[in-house]
Subunit: 235 residues, 2 copies
């Protein structure tokens, strides 16, 4: 790793410090993510990133060919961070573990609210096949982790896949709805609603699919709350 040779104009800026290449790159991405968190991507320029980072525009360009590259790098970094949050805590009931992951997810959504909304709403100028692929990869990781957490060792059949993909879409839709409706529902209550949805969606699928029935049986065995929820469903 080589240290930067800062141009005289950048060296004069107050926040400017010489940083090793990788560290500077990470700093610029972190600064960009902070800007994307509260402003739509089309309203964040490389100048804004340079200013917020206490660096010069040429320096920012040395790391990223343009705004699109910076956006993609920032998205990739956010996606990695999000995927890291899908880790299930070792203790607790299945729905308790799911709740912990959801808490972590919603704090991510709250931190990156504008960027998250712009990305999932679609139609942003910075969206490309590559950004679409990054988002899809996060969904695939979420699918794999959820299946593993459910104790599914063999390949998931079409109905179980359908169930888990659908529930993940409910998580995304509820995050979007939460942001759009001015966060009227508190995040803890939203997280409980989502774990309830997981239980009832699984139970309604289990009736038509032996693999999902197996997942439900394991869930109910370890989770008295889930069983109580299903008993309360009868009119």
């Amino acid at each position: 790793m080589t240290a930067e040779t800062g141009a005289p104009t950048t060296a004069k800026r107050p926040g400017y410090r010489r940083l090793p290449v990788q560290q500077r790159r990470e700093q610029l991405i972190a600064v960009a993510l902070e800007l994307f968190a509260s402003r739509p991507p089309e309203e964040v320029s490389l100048d804004d990133v340079a200013e917020a980072a206490g660096a010069s525009r040429p320096l920012v360009y040395r790391y990223f060919a343009g705004k699109q590259q910076l956006y993609e790098a920032a998205l990739r970094s956010a996606a990695e961070e999000l995927a890291g949050r899908f880790t299930v805590p070792p203790d607790g009931t299945p729905t308790g573990q799911l709740a912990a992951v959801l808490d972590s997810y919603f704090s991510f959504v709250a931190e990156h609210h504008t960027g998250y909304g712009a990305l999932l709403r679609g139609g942003s100028v910075v969206e490309t096949a590559r950004t679409g692929a990054i988002v899809d990869e996060v969904r695939r990781v979420a699918l794999r982790r959820t299946l593993r957490y459910l104790g599914v060792r063999e390949a998931a059949g079409p109905r179980l896949t359908l169930l888990v993909r659908s529930w993940i879409s409910v998580v995304e839709a509820s995050a979007m709805s939460w942001l759009d409706e001015g966060r009227q529902i508190d995040p803890e209550s939203l997280r409980d609603w989502l774990t309830d949805q997981f239980v009832v969606m699984t139970a309604a699928t289990a009736a038509h699919d032996p693999q999902t029935a197996g997942v439900l049986a394991t869930l109910l065995e370890h989770d008295p709350q889930a069983a109580a929820l299903l008993r309360r469903m009868a009119p």
Copy 2:
């Protein structure tokens, strides 16, 4: 409406006929939609549309400034067609009515499979803020129609909105999962799964929201099958 003045080269093509402006425009959109149905947007050129329509490239350009404009017009046309399918039949139980709308939705997805997948997967080169807005408008129509069909006359609160938006996302996710997994589940069975999901998702939400509880009560009053499903949920 004026008739086209066909250029000599186009007049020679076998399928070419003079058409009034509006009719020709609709014909080109219909041809484009057929091509988008089985090929991703980036693989459909204006030349392809001209050839399939039995028209010249200059004629296609007279109606659409470029591929982007043609794509947006085709998307708008497809969105209108889809929104038209959200009409609930007057007779039958609530879940029966929902099933009829879903049948219509899945036949739309099957007809437009590649275009539908490309659009919802995101990251297509032809996606813009305008195409995003068209997709969001279809979702808003689906939300309004579903609420109306549920007999909700007053404004929907955050939990009921959350529920219906989430279920609509399940419909979309299941259509994508259905296409991605090689249509292993038959559409009738998928439709029944979705109406079941609607019932259980509503029941699990009703426990925490009086407005949704009202919706559930109306649903159960008219739908013995929904009540039976909820009774079967107990472990």
